[in-house]
Amino acid sequence: MPLDSGETLGPITLAYETYGTLNAERSNAILICHALSGDAHAAGLSPDGKVGWWDDCIGPGKAFDTNKYFVVCSNVIGGCQGSTGPSSINPRTGKPYALGFPVITIADMVRAQRHLIDHLGIEKLLAVAGGSMGGMQVLQWTVSCPERVRAALPLATTARHSPMLIAFSEVGRQAIFADPNWRGGNYYDDGARPNTGLALARMIGHITYLSEESMHQKFGRRLQGRENYGYDFCTEFAVESYLHYKGNRFTERFDANSYLYITKAMDYFDLANGHGSLAQAFARSAEIMYLVVSFTSDWLYPSYHSKELVSALTAVGADVTYCNLQSTWGHDAFLLEVETMTRLIADFLERVVAHHHILLP
């Protein structure tokens, strides 16, 4: 498969899961795109008992109602949870790609997903949905192949990665580079992995997913495992303990090189690039129905990013519904405001189904 960088990648494996049943017309399929650290396991229980990352919203009677829709979630290329990425074996060398893996973009991720949708025999998706980096893929879908999408749900996302977001990405990457176990990315052969660097990158990430208010609510100034200040540098505040826990847990399931590649893909994301303006990028997307959602306390992808998106879509005459939901949860709100999201998504999808006269199973 050709990549934006000019290089090619292949063969490609894409991990995916599906829920619900495809109708006879193959017109009720919804593609779910995951965020930075997500995977194909979006809903239900995995064989080892793990709940899917968006199980709150995908399932019978939920926002993406699997009694009605055929839901597909695929892992992105560059990832490390079953899809081809830097930890996969390079067929040319017989060893893991490591930094020999080509740099990929959001458009490359979508290119790979398109092969999956072809493979599933779906000509036109009822909807593409996702939050954060998932939202970038959603937007990319509507620009790269608008003729294959009826509706798009970009949630808590942006049309271009801002300098602040690039800055956070870079600090995360530098944390990994600085880990002596990283060794130029060639750490797959023996046991020592750049876990300290990866955990630190994840800790930074988690700060950006919360809001000051949600940190107040969640942790306050509470101490963890201590009654009084220890006057030392041990982990003592609850928020510190939370970040350490999240960082360490992340190293159990995520590959440091994948983190480098995926954050880089996000940094390169700029929909208007090569089109002149955002509105021109959406020039062929006017037939798609959009539901754009932002959250008031999301400072990582603030609502004006979504408003910019809505402005461009309005200018091309697209049918766009926009909601800036009140929430204290920060960027994570798209996963946590379940009640409002369920209502909003279900109602919106119902309109898409009615508008296109889709026959549901």
Binding site: M289, K307, V310, S311, A312, T314, A315, G317, D319, V320, T321, Y322, C323, N324, L325, Q326, T340, R343, L344, D347, F348, E350, R351, A354
Partner: protein, 200 residues
């Protein structure tokens, strides 16, 4: 799906809309009017609304709606991209009504504007006899209530249109108890509780 009975001032607006029109409703509230227009006149409708609960109500009604204030909402629409732009009972709440009305006529071929009339005789008597700031019969809201409303009368609006070279092509007046006043008779500014104007 429409809630009945439709408010008489909304019904009066709806009667001015032709089947199949493209309609933008500014400050569309819970979407009652747009839904009615879609159901009865098969219009293509878009709404702009500030309040989150109202936006959710609109989506539930199967409407395409943008959350935002009207300045933001209007700026993005290309010139003459709608047949009709509606501003129903929202005019007194606007910070910059002259700008919004001009914008409405930029994006739409015509605007339908309804508002409560403070020129009503009850308002005049209230101020004259009791010295209290009158509340419009169609918008009974105390001076200290939020959001702040800026009172206007039918005459104010007519004079504004003349000044701004906006043409009033139709006017409908509803009296108390929502009875429609015959346009030929004088004294609308004294008798009308609600006025509806079609301007171009």
């Amino acid at each position: 799906m429409t809630q009945f009975p439709l408010r008489p001032d909304l019904l009066a607006i709806a009667e001015l809309v032709s089947p199949g029109e493209k309609v933008l409703d500014l400050g569309c509230g819970d979407g009652t009017l747009l839904r009615y227009l879609i159901d009865t006149r098969q219009i293509v409708g878009r709404g702009v609304e500030l309040d989150e609960a109202n936006v959710l109500a609109c989506v539930r009604k199967g409407l395409s709606v943008r959350q935002g204030n009207l300045d933001e909402g209007l700026r993005d629409y290309p010139d003459q991209s709608f047949d009709t732009v509606i501003l129903s009972q929202t005019l007194p709440y606007l910070d910059n009504p002259a700008f919004i009305i001009c914008e409405m006529l930029r994006v739409g071929q015509r605007a339908l504007i309804s508002f409560a009339n403070w020129g009503h005789w009850r308002c005049r008597l209230e101020l004259l006899l009791h010295g209290r700031m009158p509340q419009a019969p169609a918008l009974p809201q105390a001076w200290d209530a939020a959001p702040r409303a800026r009172p206007l009368t039918v005459r104010d609006f007519i004079e504004f249109c003349a000044r701004e070279h906006i043409t009033i092509t139709r006017s409908i007046y509803l009296g108390e108890a929502d009875r429609r006043l015959r346009a030929a008779r004088l004294g609308e500014n004294i008798r009308a509780a609600v006025a509806i104007f079609e301007v171009r």
